[in-house]
Amino acid sequence: MSWISWMLPPGASTFAGDIDRIYYVILVITGIAFVVVEVGLVWFLIKYRARPGRTVIYTHGNNTAEVIWTSITAVTVVILGLMSAGIWNRIKGRDSVPANAMAIRVNVKQFEWNFVYPGPDGRFDTPDDFTRRNQLHLPVNQAVVVELMSEDVIHSFNIPAFRIKQDAVPGMHIRAWFQPTVTGEYELGCAELCGLGHYRMRAVVTVHSLEEYQRWLGEQSPTVASK
Amino acid sequence: MAHAMTHASVMEPSPEAEPGAGVYNEKLGMWIFLLSEIMFFTALIGSYIILRFAHPEAWAAPGKVLNIPVTAVNTFLLICSSVSMVKAYASIADGNQKMLRLWLVLTVLMGATFVGIQAYEYYHLIEKAFVPSAGLYGSTFYTMTGFHGFHVTMGVICMSFVTWKAFRGRYTAADHRGVEVIGLYWHFVDLVWIILFTIVYLI
């Protein structure tokens, strides 16, 4: 049963390294805590089960023990917190979007993703903009910033292979960036319940090599953003 | 409430129990309920503050839409009702039944008038097309003042009950828990209005 696994599926963006690393660190730490506590629990349950003639150790507690386990826990979570904070700021911090990131507008509505490319002039709201529905094409190794705008309810831009997830909130203009590292086809899904069609709000993400992406770009004709 | 009967004094906590808050149950209960009310108005007033920070342009300057003179009269009325309430409490603490009844009736009347004036205010605002669906301004205005008005109405109803009991001579200098407890609620509602008047009408 290969799916009973604590491994994450292969990642395909620059975030995967950091996020997978913190995942495995937490997995090991919580795994140790899990084993210690559960083994201790079972061991105590067996060792101290009621038997004739057993007298209990009458105690109301031990302050040293309290201090030890409180501080071990506190120190561990502080370390985890510090590790997470750094990664968090690189990924979603206020000024985290790289300056050279390629912008794509994502207009979301029930139940489709519309990806607006700026076209050859590199600017939005010009006649050469073109829109692709439920198909996102990206060049490999290029930082991309998606500008999420929802027309109706909250949706969530979620590409598991890229480890990216960001809600698109109506009335807000949210930017989220990532950088694919492996060419191929990936799936993008909506992660926030958005109505009865939530489950089929799927798009395909194709990551091209740079040449291929240029070729694909050349084939696209400008269209008026489909409404 | 059998336990209450055994108390040496009903206005003091029971000597049969561990020392608690140092006040009798009904008063403690009302205070605890008021804490809950604080959080309820936090949800409404807090949302108002947050929305106003997000979209300051959605609010008109004071006096442009809302009728401040009428509400100022209403505010004054509510303060008067608060003082008459506290005078009712002071009267019965001294054992003065007559003054208790007088002050309570005055309080009920002023509370009812407050609600009436608010209804009049709503009526004229709706005539001017200022309705709950009129943007954030209308939404927050009607929700906050409406729920305050609802609290005043509830207060008037409960106070009428207390007044009825007062006329039947149920309160004495030794036991006037009902008067004190409804008073706490009434002053709290007044206190909320003081805040609302400022942030809704004057800012």
């Binding site: 799916w3 491994m7 599926p9 975030f15 919580t30 805590a33 349950l45 101290y48 089960r49 209990v56 150790i57 109301h60 507690g61 031990n62 309290e66 409180t70 979570v77 985890l80 997470s84 904070a85 968090w88 990924i91 979603k92 206020r94 309810v153 969530s156 598991p160 480890r163 997830k165 960001q166 809600d167 909130v169 009335g171 899904g189 926030e192 319940l193 958005c194 109505g195 009865l196 069609g197 | 409430m1 059998a2 049969e16 561990e18 403690l28 209960g29 804490l35 809950s36 959080m39 309820f40 949800a43 807090g46 949302s47 947050i50 929305l51 709950p132 669906s133 209308g138 939404s139 927050t140």
Partner: protein, 588 residues
């Protein structure tokens, strides 16, 4: 038992009970009857929530296949016995709503808050018995309104139990209008009911403790119910306020959460989770407290680190208010705020860890009797550890970005709410059943129910971690839509079959609960040899509990001190010998 001189004999005669049937059992003001009323009501809702979960599991395990019995559902819910997507959204919503608001919360707070608080602190009843009755009789119409939602046009609320706006605020987006409004209305009424209950619990604990029952002589169950009541008192009105605004958005055309006219969808999330996170602790703190009582009793020794347990409950109660943003890391919230919430979230794992270690410390060196309540309590500790540790994963915002809204979250919350709260509830019901009904529940059926539940429960929810790690999203009607979820179909089917078996195992509890009521063995006065005050009155206790107010001389968990002939020292028994000097003083 010979050494005790309980003042119960005069009590039975002194407390004349001439109430009519209606006043005694239906519109009763007696906290014990109200507790049992809450128990019956919430068990019914637990069953309803379970049935909804089974339908959901069928669709996930066998997507698109006709559900057995699905032909009974109307065309608006299932077409040809196949569940429709819109009905699936209602199932998701209502399973969560029923379980959180109408099953677990009343089971913990309504039932045990009512039943245990006066009995364990030595009070004749609640501070406000009539308010208590009002609290129950508000909860009933709230539940009926919630059920009524299934039968209105457009179907029931379908925006998730969190009711995220604008999905919930504008009927256009879900096609649900009346159902969503009933949902709001029902929860507002339930909120009022909970607040009235909380006012009662808090006043009772503060003002009605029997002489000698100082703050630090209160059992941990009472401490946790007290702190929980404070959380209910302050959190429910926030939800009520938010729901009122949501209801107005739907029905009066206001714009609090609708972005069209400047409303803020994210404000709903802030308000909801500002209520919602304390709510999470409302759903676990009483369980922790009652488990502490049961574990100390089952291990026959005092609870380890009583004072640090109390401070842990208090700090959870406070920190619970400042962590709500961790539900919103990916919501577009200010990222700096996200970092702040990460810090507080990490911190709140410290008191939880303290509690777990103290339970282990209590078991250490004990003489453990594996009664049914004790089995459930130990399972609670084992499962809560898993739920707590899996929480560390999503406390890390970057990692949360990957597992947010996946089945990892579903696994986590069920490990806390089912593996945690529900095991504690089963244990607590078995433990206090003799007090409530004067009869014992069958230990044999109880053990069978426990083992089956424990096994199938883990088979259902543990693999959900794996689903989540592979990226399986929550609230997905048909997982086969996505290529990357297709390999998970087998696992989904496995979970579904386990879930059916888990559900079937609960029938044993139902049989045991109802059967023991009529045919159970008559319980002796103190069947678990416990120290609590509740065991010093007859079972079930008379109206008024005690004729003579009990007097408390000892801390709550005096097991195995060797100062009495038995291995326990009831809190109200006066001893001539002074306590051993080594003992920690129990002062306030």
């Amino acid at each position: 038992m010979a050494t005790i001189a309980p003042p119960v004999e005069p009590a039975v005669h002194a407390l004349v009970d001439d109430r009519t049937f209606l006043r005694k059992y239906i519109f009763s003001t007696d906290h014990k009857i109200i507790g049992i009323q809450f128990l019956l009501m919430s068990l019914i809702f637990l069953l309803i929530g379970g049935i909804l979960a089974m339908m959901m599991r069928w669709q996930l395990g066998f997507p698109g296949r006709p559900m057995p019995g699905g032909g009974l559902l109307p065309e608006t819910m299932a077409s040809g016995a196949v569940i429709l997507p819109e009905f699936y959204a209602s199932l998701v919503t209502m399973h969560g709503t029923f379980m959180v608001f109408f099953a677990i919360m009343p089971l913990l707070v309504g039932v045990f808050g009512n039943y245990l608080i006066p009995l364990k602190i030595g009070a004749p009843d609640m501070a406000f018995p009539r308010l208590n009755m009002a609290s129950f009789w508000l909860a009933v119409p709230a539940g009926l309104l919630m059920i009524a939602g299934f039968f209105v046009e457009g179907g029931h609320a379908a925006a998730g139990w969190t009711g995220y706006a604008p999905l919930s605020a504008n009927p256009e987006y879900t096609g649900v209008s009346a159902g969503q409004q009933l949902w709001c209305l029902s929860l507002i009424i339930l909120g009022l009911s909970s607040i009235l209950g909380a006012v009662n619990y808090i006043s009772t604990v503060i003002n009605l403790r029997a002489p000698g029952m100082t703050w630090f002589r209160m059992p941990l169950s009472i401490w946790s119910l007290f702190i929980t009541a404070i959380l209910v008192l302050l959190a429910m009105p926030i939800l009520s306020g938010a729901l009122i605004m949501l209801l107005f958005d739907q029905s009066l055309g206001t714009h609090f959460f609708l972005p069209a006219d400047g409303g803020q969808p994210i404000l709903w999330q802030h308000l909801f989770w500002f209520f919602g996170h304390p709510e999470v602790y409302i759903l676990i703190l009483p369980a922790m407290g009652m488990v502490s009582d049961i574990i100390s009793n089952g291990a026959r020794k005092p609870i380890f680190g009583y004072h640090s347990m109390v401070f842990a409950i208090m700090s959870i109660g406070f920190l619970g208010w400042v962590v709500w943003g961790h539900h919103m890391f990916q919501s577009g919230m200010n990222p700096t705020l996200g970092t702040t919430f990460m810090v507080s979230t990490m911190l709140i794992s410290v008191p939880s860890a303290i509690k777990v270690f103290n339970w282990l410390g209590t078991l250490w060196g004990g003489s453990i009797k594996f009664t049914v309540p004790m089995l459930h309590a130990c399972a609670f500790v084992a499962m809560f550890v898993i739920g707590g540790l899996s929480g560390v994963f999503m406390a890390s915002p970057p990692l949360d970005m990957y597992i947010h809204d996946t089945y990892f979250i579903v696994a986590h919350l069920h490990y806390v709410l089912f593996g945690g709260s529900l095991f504690a509830i089963f244990g607590a019901i078995t433990f206090w059943y003799p007090k409530m009904f004067g009869r014992m529940m069958s230990p044999r059926l109880g053990k069978l129910h426990f083992f089956l539940t424990f096994v199938f429960y883990n088979l259902v929810f543990f693999p959900m971690h794996q689903l989540g790690l592979q990226g399986h999203m929550r609230r997905i009607y048909d997982p086969s839509t996505y290529e990357f979820m297709k390999p998970l179909a087998g696992l989904n089917r496995f979970i579904t079959i386990s879930a059916f078996l888990l559900f079937a195992s609960q029938l044993l509890f139902l049989v045991n609960f109802i059967g023991s009521w009529f045919r159970g063995r008559k319980a002796e006065p103190n069947p678990w040899d416990d120290t609590g005050l509740e065991w010093t009155t007859p079972s079930p206790p008379p109206h008024g509990n005690w004729a003579v107010t009990p007097r408390v001389y000892h801390p709550p968990y005096e097991f195995g001190s060797g100062r009495t002939a038995e291995d326990f020292l009831p809190q109200d028994r006066k001893l001539d010998t002074p306590p051993a000097p080594a003992r920690a003083p129990a002062s306030r």
